[in-house]
Symmetry: C2
Subunit: 237 residues, 2 copies
Amino acid sequence: MVGRMNASRTARERVRAELIREIKDVARRQLAVEGAAGLSLRAVARELGMVSSAIYRYFPSRDELLTALIIEAFDAVGAAVEEADAACPRDRHLDRWMATCRAIRAWALAHPHEYALIHGTPVPGYVAPQDTAVAAARDGIVMAGILRDALEAGALSPLPGLPSAPPSFAADAERLRQALFARLSDDVILLALEAWTLIYGTVSFELFGMYKNVIEEDRAAAFDHVALTQAHILGLA
Amino acid sequence: MVGRMNASRTARERVRAELIREIKDVARRQLAVEGAAGLSLRAVARELGMVSSAIYRYFPSRDELLTALIIEAFDAVGAAVEEADAACPRDRHLDRWMATCRAIRAWALAHPHEYALIHGTPVPGYVAPQDTAVAAARDGIVMAGILRDALEAGALSPLPGLPSAPPSFAADAERLRQALFARLSDDVILLALEAWTLIYGTVSFELFGMYKNVIEEDRAAAFDHVALTQAHILGLA
DNA sequence: CGCGTTTTGGAGCAGTGCTCTCGCTTCAAG
DNA sequence: CTTGAAGCGAGAGCACTGCTCCAAAACGCG
């Protein structure tokens, strides 16, 4: 009970971890085929050659399996965003911004059902477990980092003449400043949140069919326009 | 078979129409309680005192029932938006804009599960039937009308210096101009679509828990800031 | 009134999430 | 090395779902 603190636990624990991985992999494949509503524990068990009740040794319920997939999806999009950002020179702030925005859209188009899992209707009882919080924040960390770098480089001049953040936002802004936004102003922080919202809103609208008969010709160009316009508003140029 | 063209059809058809209404009402109540995933045809039938198979004389499948509820939800939010707009003097374009935006958010907060039905993950096989198209367009018609009126009154001056719409958007813009946007420019039409997207994106983020630990203090004020900022960008002032 | 259309009731099929129990395997401490 | 506990898979079973089929009942029009 005492020892064996680090690497390569007991054989039992290793096969257990591997089986958890296999279950998640099969579940993700089934999810990609017919969406979250069609994810069946029994089908996963069948494909793995085990009986359905055995799954419950690894996931206490179907919703817990879904939660695990949600966390992995947040992590995947977070990783895609970090990679896109890291591929740009640190002082090309506009390029980094556009690259991260495009990375979000590209990931979503490549994994529509997983994207729907994290940005569609909350599927389970609708409680977003605390476990997802850290994974869900990775994209925001990257985007905030770009704005921070731009500010420090003196390359951030938000568009003048727009409404200021309401006084009631001050407390939220202060908390966010501590966590991500360093020395950015309340106004810029709120504009950044709105840009973040619009980026995901645009991707969601495109994926969920809201642009049918609205934007048909070149949605990639329209998305670029969204990202570029937000960059102009934030003053990333 | 020939006659009886207008009002007050045969008694059978009247009771049939009423039963369809009752089914939809019960279904909407159940939806409000436990969400779209928990909508059960059998439960609806039970509450109506009929056996489950009888429902299928009125709705060929569960998805068809959901589709009917989706259309009604689109209609309800459309009606709320139209009403909010009509309550403002026609020449107070900014007031009309803010009123319609707030109406969308208010309706969504009052009917979260119905909102999730129309702006969350597409629940059924994921095909959005053509029937929904007209109902889904009502909010857009109102918002486009405000911009049209502002243009005609010479009270529309979009913020200069922002990126222009890409050339590939011209065809979409022309089609949209014919349908709703009258003589508005490509740039304004695209900005309007982005504003429309951001309004719904903000409501969705708020409702689906994305602003947890992000915006906590006064989400109504933050939403107003979104709507007002978009009005400024469009030049509604 | 009578007959045909419409509606309903009930049984049944295939599938789901989940629980419980019963043996079997593995592991670790005595 | 033995023994007892913990982890594990198999199977049966419960309550529920959407949906189909068919016979019985209700209805309404000529």
